[in-house]
Each structure stands twice: as C-alpha cells, then as structure tokens.
C-alpha cells in the first residue's frame, strides 16, 4: 500500500457535532463572537435608551466618527501585536503629532499640505527607529516602546507646555466636512479610518509582507530559519505602527482642532485592548484586523452607553466601564472556549 490512500476519515461522529467542532476550531470564531456580542450589546442599548434617541442611525455612525482615530491607532497596534510585539508609544505619538502639526501650522505658518506628509514621515520614522533598536539590539519591545512613550510625550511638552489651537481654515473645513450616507453622515476622519482598515486587511491577507507578519508572530525563530527577512519585517511592523499612530494623531487633530501636550494619554492601552478584544492573541500570529474594528466599536459603545445612562458619578463610570468590559470578555471567552486539549 502506498501512503497516498491514507486519507483520514473522521471516525464515528455525528455530522452535527463535527460541525460544532469545526466551528470551534475555526480561527475566525473570536471575531465572529465579538461581532455578535457587539450587536447584542447594541441591541441592549437600543431597548434601554430607545426614547433617548439611541436608535437614530447617527448614533451608530457617531461610533465611527468618535473613534476613527482610535481605529487607525489600533490597526497599527494590530500589526505589531500580530508580529508578537507590542507598541506602547501609540498614545504619545498621537499626542506628539497633534502638537507637532499644530505648532508647524500655527506657529511656523507652514501649509497643511506640507505638514501632513511631514508629520506622517516623522511618525513612521519614530516607529522605524524603535523597530531598529528592537531588532538590532535585541531589546524587548515593551521597553523600547515604553521609552518611546516617555520620549514623545516629553517632546510634546518641549514643543510647548500649553495647548495650541488650530485656526487654519483648511483644518476647519476638513474637520467639519460631513459626508452624507443617506441615513446619516460620516466625518472625513471616519472615512479615512475605514479606508485604512481596508488597506490593512488587504496588506495582511494579500501581500507577502502581511503573511510574513503572521509568520514572525507565529514563531520568530522559525521565521528566521525559514529564510524570511525577519529583521526587515519587524522593523517594518513598527514603522507601520508609527505611521498609523501619526495618522491617528492627524485624525485626532482634526477631531479636536488643536494640539495639546496631554492629549491621548493612555490611548495605547485602549488600542491594545481593542486589538485583544477583537480576538487577536498578544503572543502573536493569530487574529484578524476586522476583529480590531469590532474591538474599537465595543469600547466606543461602552462609552456611549455610559453617557446615555447619564446618571453615573465619576467613579461609577469607571466601575461600570470595568464591569461591562469584564462581562464582555467573560461571555466572549465562554463562547469561544474549546475543550481543553
């Protein structure tokens, strides 16, 4: 007999249970569950706050408008996390970008068309530098990017301790432009974020670079031995994250039309949380960028629900956020849990 005809047939198990096991084994399950839970949560909000106007489509679209920058930042973080790393400099980089652009536009009088590529370039270069150090000197990403967190936040303050308002007309129009969608409208920021999402999806699933990111995250040592440009991939991933953070910073700047040295403090945790809630493993190599979208939406929805509740005092806000997060994660976990193998 030859080896060829040893096709394994699944032994003695009902079709139903096999479908269940197949579903449980499917890597897309966490994303599906997150999406389903998000919808359930949204439905809950609808029932509870129906006569407060929660049901209006615009409230849903506001989730994108109000979290567009977070989505972009989280997409950058997805690349890094997928490759098995972590980027803590996201929040600082966003703050820095708002400050840097505001300073260039307002204080130095540079036109926006020049400032935007400059800011993106600086962000990408910052990410590149961190990636370079992480790869070439084999220092843990957590620490390098933590230093990045300090550095960029520090640079914000070096530029100016005070916030800088942006009066530039083009910024104003960009910020206030709304694109009608029939049922509601979206801001430029939200559209850019969705475009970035599409691009990230394409890159991760249809380019060699994207697959290398997964490979490096799956097993760095193996990726190296398989002859993949491991260093290049790692550096590129941090560059992407730096770029995304800078872009998120620009969107954030559009959102609030100012630069402030204390903007976006701690947003890296939001970004990481969004990625993880979306079903990506922090150990790398597994996850989908679509999950990140739902992660961001869930975080945004929690915030919205709390404002709609409107009766919570400061600390109850925090507690409620924690409890909702916890409930979400526990339900998600029970729904995706496979039998222990």
């Amino acid at each position: 007999m030859t080896a060829t005809d040893r096709k394994p047939e699944v032994v003695e198990n009902g079709a139903a249970s096999s479908r269940a096991t197949r579903l449980l084994g499917d890597r897309r399950l966490p994303v599906l569950v997150t999406a389903a839970l998000f919808l359930a949560m949204y439905g809950g909000g609808l029932r509870r706050y129906a006569n407060y106007g929660f049901g209006e489509p615009q409230v849903f679209l506001n989730l994108f408008i109000d979290n567009g920058y977070l989505l972009v930042a989280a997409i950058g973080a997805t690349f890094v996390i997928m490759s098995g790393g972590i980027d803590l400099s996201v929040g600082s980089m966003i703050g820095f970008t708002t400050m840097f652009t505001a300073w260039l536009v307002e204080r130095q009088g540079l036109p926006l068309v020049l400032v935007v590529p400059l800011a993106l370039g600086v962000g990408a270069f910052g990410g590149f530098l961190m990636g370079y150090v992480i790869h070439n000197f084999e220092i843990q990403p957590f620490i390098v990017t933590l230093a990045g967190l300090f550095l960029f936040r520090g640079l914000c303050l070096v530029i100016s301790k005070e916030s800088i308002s942006i009066g530039d007309a083009s910024v104003g129009t960009l910020a206030q432009t709304r694109v009608p969608l029939g049922v509601g409208e979206l801001s430029i920021g939200a559209l850019v974020a969705l475009a970035v999402l599409g691009a990230a999806y394409y890159v991760l699933h249809y380019t060699r670079f994207g697959r290398r990111v997964y490979a490096v995250g799956g097993n760095e040592q193996s990726a190296l031995l398989m002859g993949l440009p491991m260093g290049g991939t790692k550096i590129a991933v941090y560059t992407v994250s730096g770029f995304c953070s800078a872009l998120a910073g620009l969107l954030f700047m559009l959102y609030i039309q100012s630069g402030d040295p204390l903007h976006a403090i701690g947003m890296e945790l939001d970004a990481i949380a969004a990625v993880v809630i979306g079903g990506t493993l922090l150990t790398g190599g597994s996850g989908y960028v679509l999950g990140t979208l739902f992660g961001v939406l869930v975080l945004g929805l929690i915030k919205s629900l709390i404002t709609f509740e409107g009766t919570l005092s400061s600390w109850w806000t925090k507690i409620a956020t924690g409890v909702l997060l916890c409930a979400f994660i526990l339900i998600q976990r029970t729904m995706t849990a496979r039998r222990k193998t």
């Binding site: 509870r48 706050y49 006569n51 407060y52 106007g53 209006e56 615009q58 409230v59 506001n62 109000d66 920058y69 914000c156 303050l157 301790k161 005070e162 916030s163 800088i164 308002s165 942006i166 009066g167 104003g172 910020a175 206030q176 954030f252 959102y255 609030i256 039309q257 100012s258 630069g259 402030d260 040295p261 204390l262 903007h263 976006a264 403090i265 915030k303 919205s304 629900l305 709390i306 404002t307 709609f308 509740e309 409107g310 009766t311 919570l312 005092s313 400061s314 600390w315 806000t317 925090k318 409620a320």
Partner: protein
C-alpha cells in the same frame, strides 16, 4: 446596570423639567469631586434633570459626551473643558441644534464668540498673581529680611492650572520683585501629596537654603510640609508656605501654623451654575464671564474660616 425606571418622564425637551447635560473633566482631585458634588446637589435643589458624565480627563470623551447630549436634545449643556482648545466643531453642532452652552471652571479658545453663552469660573492666572501678592504680606508678617529663595511645586506638567498659576505668579514677581525674589527650584509634584513630599525632599537636599514654598495646590503643600518636618525644619517658620485651592486639610494645616497663606479657588460652583442655567433658559442677557466669589486667607483667618470649609 441599574434600572432607570422613570426614564419616560424626561426624554427630550418636551416635558416641564429642565434637562441639563453636564460634562465633568474627571475626578482627579478632591477639589474636582467637590465641584461635581456641588453641581449635582444644586441641580437637585433646583429640580433640574441632570445628565452627568465624567470624561476621565480625556477631551475626546468630553466631545462625544456633548454629542450625545445633543442627540438626547437636552435643554442646556454645561461643561468644564479638559483643555482650552479644539471645541469649535462640537460647539457648532450644539449651536446648530439650538442648545445653549455654558462653560464652567475655565474658558475655551474659540473663533466664534457666540458658541458659548457664558463662563462661570475662576481665573488661574489671577490666582497666581494673588499668590504672589499674598506672599508679600506673609513675608512682611514674618519680618523676613534678605533674599527670598522660592521653591515652586508645579501641578501636572501641561495642565492649565499649573501653567497659569505659574504664569501669574511670575508676572507679579518679575514686575515688583525682580531683584529680591528668585525661584531657585521648580518641579512638578503632579498635584498630589505624595508628589509634593518626594519633590520637596529632593529640593531640601539640593537647595537647603530655600525659605519660601509656593505650591500650586494644597495637597502638594501638605506633602511638602511632611518632607520639611522630616528634614528637621519648621514649616511656616523656617520655610514660608503659600498654596492655592483652600481644601479643608489645608486650612487645618494653616490653623496649626504650618501654612502661611492660602489663595482660594472655589469649587462650589453648583448654585451659581444653576442660576445661570435658569437665566439662559429664560433668555436673559448674561455677562461673558461670571467670576466665582473667592478670597485669600492668612494664618490669622484660618481658625475662623475652618468650620465653614465644606470640602
């Protein structure tokens, strides 16, 4: 979450009671909490429905809260801006929805004056100036001679009160005391007691000859007092202390002679705010800036003022 059973009686502006949407900065300090409490209790007294949200120090949260208030069609929106810049877009939305906006606590920079009705609050820069002025009195009283070496405990770097309190103080100092006063060290104590204590301990090591401390809030001052005592010096005597805010613990320390003067920054804006809200709703004309009533206290006033401190 809790059941909001009577939600049906107040949605939208249709019913009789007035709905106020209030977005607070956060709950980063006792001062802020007193501020929130004051607003809440005043709203209750006035019989308004209050929609309260806490932005956790994040402007984006505040913006989305305001958007939500707009969506909920509240009657008046009030908020304490996290930062001064970047409000145009959302305020324009409010204006478009014909919801009047009242600022509390601090102002915003905006291109269009009509975006908000009025500001109820204090002026941090002025507090800095007042601190410098009262320091003159303190020095006088203590009979201080010779150069004045000041250590400054700043608030959180980049926060508006920290910047402006430093600015106002420096303004007066540069104008009136350019040659005899000098800020020898200045660091951030993050507005906390622990921060104040640690930073002061380090100051006392590197500059043992400091004789005046200006702290941007009471808490840092209280922490610093402990550090001064640990160094074997007497707060209020060897080192003269001026702080801003006027929380209860500060007054206690002042009555014990450990703080020499306090510049009050009053968080109890609630009643004033409700007044303003009522007037806005009634369509009355208001000043652009309604200052809160505040005063400065020296040691001899401490004992009398202490029982009336609420927070």
């Amino acid at each position: 979450a809790k059941e909001d059973g009577k939600s049906s009686d107040s949605p939208g502006g249709g019913s009789k009671t007035l709905t106020l949407g209030f977005s607070q900065v956060g709950s980063e300090s006792g001062w802020r909490t007193a501020n929130s409490d004051s607003v809440k209790s005043a709203a209750k007294e006035s019989g308004y429905t209050l929609k309260f949200s806490d932005a956790q120090q994040k402007q984006e949260n505040q913006i989305s809260a305001i958007r939500n208030y707009i969506a909920q069609k509240v009657d008046v929106i009030a908020f304490s801006p996290v930062v001064v810049t970047g409000w145009d877009a959302v305020l324009k939305e409010a204006k478009a929805a014909k919801i009047p906006v009242v600022l509390t606590d601090r102002s915003v920079e905006t291109s269009d004056e009509s975006l908000y009705v009025t500001l109820v609050g204090s002026d941090f820069t002025d507090e800095g100036r007042r601190a410098a002025k009262i320091l003159e009195k303190v020095l006088d009283k203590a009979g201080h001679k010779g150069p004045v070496k000041i250590a400054q405990l700043e608030g959180t770097t980049g926060a508006a009160p920290a910047i402006e309190r430093a600015k106002g103080f420096k303004e007066v100092m540069d104008a009136d005391h350019a040659d005899d006063w000098k800020i020898v060290v200045s660091q951030t104590g993050e507005f906390t007691r622990a921060g104040g204590k640690q930073v002061m301990a380090a100051f006392l090591q590197s500059n043992p000859d400091i004789n005046v401390l200006y702290a941007h809030n009471d808490d840092m001052g209280l922490g610093a007092i402990q550090a001064i005592e640990a160094a074997g010096k007497k707060p209020g005597k060897d080192i003269l202390i001026v702080t801003v805010d006027g929380v209860k613990d500060g007054f206690i320390a002042m009555s014990e002679g450990k703080i020499n003067a306090i510049v009050e920054c009053n968080p109890l804006l609630g009643p004033q705010l409700m007044d303003v809200v009522q007037k806005v709703k009634d369509g009355e004309k208001l000043e652009r800036w309604i200052k809160t009533e505040e005063s400065d206290f020296l040691q001899d006033q401490a004992k009398d003022a202490l029982p009336s401190r609420k927070y």
